[in-house]
Symmetry: C2
Subunit: 202 residues, 2 copies
């Protein structure tokens, strides 16, 4: 049995031990013969998988009534994995979702590290700095690098800490955010944890 989280650019597999990615354009899903439980935000791939009986779409077993219409399936499935936590999923966007005692309270979306770096650069070459992640106890900045880091990351940090819940970091850039949230738990397989819970419900 395999688990697979399908995005716009890759198939992200988990075989129970390790996770690995395959490019959406190059990978042939019919090359796999064992059962694959998947979620997907990629409509094109979704359509091609309908004909493969060993690819089982978990989307149908999700109770979406606790969430909202346009919410990404990946955010929902990650939330299914936790009972009491803030999930910070750092990818092209940074999504922050709050679940307290089993109830989804809502969430917000910030820009991802790359996107935000590009944004500052596009506003002015004078704002073209790497982010300083060491802002945990930072006072108000008196230099340009800290000024943009604070305007983006310190504000995010303050909001995430304000929920006073355990913090789970996931997504491709989660390691970069560890310094902002030293007490957070890294879980790059959170989405697969959520998928396992959905399989039990099948």
């Amino acid at each position: 049995m395999l688990l697979c989280d399908i995005g716009n650019t890759s198939y992200h597999f988990f075989d129970g031990v390790r996770s690995y990615k395959e490019n959406v354009k190059q990978f042939d899903p019919s090359s796999i013969t064992e059962d694959v439980y998947f979620i997907s935000v990629n409509t094109e791939v979704n359509n091609s998988l309908v004909t493969l009986s060993n690819w089982i779409n978990l989307a149908e077993s999700i109770d979406k009534s606790s969430y909202y219409e346009t919410m990404g399936l990946d955010r929902i499935v990650a939330l299914e994995a936790v009972h009491n936590a803030v999930i910070v999923d750092a990818g092209s966007a940074i999504t922050v979702d709050v679940k307290r005692e089993g109830i989804f309270e809502g969430g917000f979306i910030s820009a991802g590290l790359n996107a935000m770096s590009e944004t500052y650069k596009s506003i002015s070459p004078a704002l073209s700095y790497e982010f300083n992640m060491a802002l945990y106890t930072k006072k108000l900045p008196k230099n340009s690098q800290d000024a943009i880091s604070y305007g983006y990351l310190k504000l995010l940090q303050t909001e995430v800490l304000s929920f006073e819940l355990p913090i789970i970091l996931t997504g491709g850039d989660s390691k970069s955010l560890q310094e902002l949230f030293p007490n957070a738990i890294q879980n790059e397989n959170l989405i697969f944890d959520g998928m396992k819970k959905l399989i039990i419900k099948l």
Copy 2:
């Protein structure tokens, strides 16, 4: 006597009553015969003004020791106008600067409304929404429009309010931010107020 704040795209004049803008590329500064006190972040224009004796550069009368090396002159001059306030200057970037009892505590830089709107759009067409400015008492969002508005503007709002100082809104997008900071003072001429204080010091 005229005051003038010169940016990368325009000369921003103030004649004591009204303010108006002239395009940097089209305007001929030698067409003005009266005294013009100016600040400028535009090196090219700076060089051309050296030969005009009625254009008086206020940069030299600024005591930069309280600020920092790479800090924009416009931010410094706006700060010279206040004694105890948070200045939120909303343009291509949103700069937030804190002065408490005459002491500059530091500041941070967020992206401007247009830049941030473009950023979300570039991350995903699913995040292509206008910002909802009515976030003052907003709970955690349960829809995409509020999720991006919260991730950008609610975080900014929380930080700005945390300083517990009078808030002054200035810059081209200041009116758009009024709803986020209902008790803030709008002052589109803040930079000119700062320049007047510098002239007295000459």
